[in-house]
Amino acid sequence: MSAAAEAIRPPRDGTLGRLSDFLWRRPGLFLLLMLTPPLLWLGIIYVGSLFALLLQSFFSIDEFSGLIRHEFTLKTYAELLRPSNFDIIVRTVSMAAVVTLAAGVIALPIAYYAARYARGRWKAAFYLAVMLPLWSSYLVKVYAWKLILAKEGILNWLFAKLHLTWALEALLAIPVIGGNSLSVSYIGTFLVFVYVWLPFMILPMQAALERVPGNLIEASADLGAGTGQTFRHVVFPLALPGIIAGSIFTFSLTLGDYIIPQIVGSSRLFIGQAVYAHQGTAGNIPLAAAFTVVPIVIMGFYLWVAKRQGAFDAL
């Protein structure tokens, strides 16, 4: 093999060859070309729509005809902060927080087991066992819960069979969260929310737990920490970003859902329902838009915290 060839080859013919050279010399332009389609889509269409929506919250509605008056006003925001609407916000945010917490608590053992103990086939089985409910029809799942929770439903039937009806009744007798039956109580709404969003919590949590290096766990044991201590001092803090990532989903999904509280709930509105109702039923787009500002602000804050915790990589 002799070294007789020229040191620099001439440019390749053809459009592609020349284009490649051209773009290679202008990496900035190349980057721009790559980013243009997604930026057009997400940055212009999507974010543009969001802004258009926000803009509408500064309009108001003619109360009689239901038509929008295209004049700048803060009236709609004043309306948003009326006690009855404020209740909706508080109710929704509390529910989202409680659901997130509960989903975290239930998800943890599953995620932890799958991440640290399940192997090979079992691991795949675990994964599918989480994915299957995740991808089963959301609506049908919610409906299944309506049937489970109804007064004449499966859970009552089961409790009756087990002679535990008294326990259920005691639960429902709790003020505020109880009610006439599970399907018309906050407990019911909460249960369904937790159920439906649980897989969204498990997967990022599992991924995060898996990313905790095994050697740190050994190092901890080596330094005298028992299993529980290792979990508290090493595993949990290190998995926290992933847990936060998971909580973004449960929190955000709860904030915006309008189907679950409508099917299982006590007719007290949640933000999603209020948005849906004002947009669709009442045709009050400005108020609906003002309502959407609440989850946007909350999630904005949430994302900011998540970002600082490095949770984005875990999404």
């Binding site: 509605i61 003619d62 109360e63 009689f64 005809s65 239901g66 038509l67 309306e79 009326r82 006690p83 009855s84 609407n85 209740d87 909706i88 109710r91 049937l147 109804a150 007064k151 004449e152 439903g153 009610g179 006439n180 039956s181 399907s183 018309v184 109580s185 409508q262 709930g265 006590s266 007719s267 007290r268 509105l269 209020a274 109702a277 947009q279 669709g280 039923t281 009442a282 045709g283």
Partner: protein, 362 residues
């Protein structure tokens, strides 16, 4: 839009916003079908979007994309004021003359002598109850407004429902009209601040009894079957369906009388299929359709001729459904500030937000 002066040929389809149960093509029960024949005759395919409240109907019409809407009285004037609907040329609707005279010039679709639609059906919001919880038909709306022990020995708390629409405030006002005459309520849709406050207070009391408000007719049916609900204001439609399934259910109009609705088929100002729309309006006034629908929904036909000789409705049907109660029924209409009876009333938009508050526990 200008009123149509001449009919052309059909555009192949017509899009209608309707109350649930209003436009049937035999999918639930083969006997009730007043769409298939129309489609075959005119070549206009009928697409139906059902809406559960008047507000929803207004919103859908505001959004556009529909030709017709079966608007109740509390929606129709809003649609007219918002210029969402167009005047109809009754000359293009041969059956116009057969319409019940009480409805032909009704104020909820006639403005300055111009008609904005064809009457469709009317009827009362009845009190539906379980015959297991009540030995005999309840006499008063009290059973859904005040806590009491029912005939089955259990409290009504958690076992009654109310309509999830601001117009339900009128039901409370109607109740007060009877029980608190000192408030001086003339019309349940025209309330001054004091009357309004009294109605809201009553509704707040009712909130304690209601587990879940009903929004969708079918969900109410479910709730009666699966959630142990025993009494609620309702439409005859639900009563019919439940009875049809053999549930122990009946309905009544208590002493206080009832609110009710009178619906008008109205045409969108920008209807894309005006010819089919006119054809549908004509079709909707045929005695067969009117009678079948009345039988199906438990309502009263807008065409008296339908009361005779309809197989499904039967000869007593119109009477049963309240043909003679026209005067007792306080038909839905939109509350406005400048009201006839007392000059200054609480307008509808406050009904909307306050009712959300009441349901939310405020």
């Amino acid at each position: 839009a200008e009123m149509m002066s001449k009919l052309g040929s059909g555009e192949g389809q017509v899009d209608i916003v309707a109350w649930p149960g209003y436009i049937e093509r035999g999918e639930t029960d083969k006997a009730f079908d007043w769409v298939t024949a129309f489609e075959q005759k005119t070549g206009c395919k009928v697409n139906v979007k059902s809406a559960n409240t008047s507000d929803e109907m207004v919103a859908l019409m505001n959004e556009g994309g529909f030709d017709l809407v079966t608007a109740s009285g509390d929606a129709s004037l809003r649609l007219i004021a918002g210029k969402r609907v167009q005047p109809v040329n009754t000359a293009l609707i041969p059956s116009w003359s057969t319409v019940d005279e009480r409805l032909q010039n009704a104020p909820w679709h006639t403005v300055d002598g111009t008609h904005y639609g064809t009457p469709y059906q009317w009827g009362p919001n009845v009190l539906m109850y379980s015959t297991e919880a009540f030995k005999e038909a309840p006499k008063s709306w009290k059973v859904v407004f005040e806590e009491m022990t029912l005939d089955d020995g259990k409290s009504n708390a958690g076992r009654v429902q109310a309509y999830d629409g601001p117009i339900h405030v009128a039901d409370a006002a109607n109740f007060l009209m009877h029980h608190k005459p000192e408030l001086g309520i003339k019309s349940p849709y025209e309330l001054n601040e004091d009357q309004y406050k009294a109605a809201l207070d009553l509704l707040r009391e009712q909130r304690k009894l209601v587990s879940r408000y009903w929004h969708d007719a079918f969900i109410q049916i479910d709730d009666f079957k699966n959630e142990g609900v025993v009494a609620s204001g309702s439409w005859p439609f639900q009563v019919n369906l439940l009875k049809g399934e053999g549930q122990k259910i009946d309905s009544t109009i208590p002493v206080e009388g009832a609110t009710g609705w009178a619906d008008t088929t109205m045409m969108h100002a920008d209807a894309a299929h005006p010819n089919c729309a006119y054809m549908w309006m004509e079709h909707s006034l045929s005695p067969k359709v009117q009678g079948d629908l009345a039988a199906w929904f438990g309502s009263v036909p807008a065409v008296p001729a339908a009361c005779k000789g309809n197989e499904l409705l039967g000869d007593e049907g119109c009477k049963t459904n309240g043909f003679e109660d026209f005067a007792r029924i306080k038909f839905w209409q939109t509350p406005v500030s400048k009201c006839e009876s007392q000059g200054q009333c609480v307008p509808y938009y406050r009904w909307v937000s306050d009712y959300i508050g009441v349901i939310g526990g405020r």
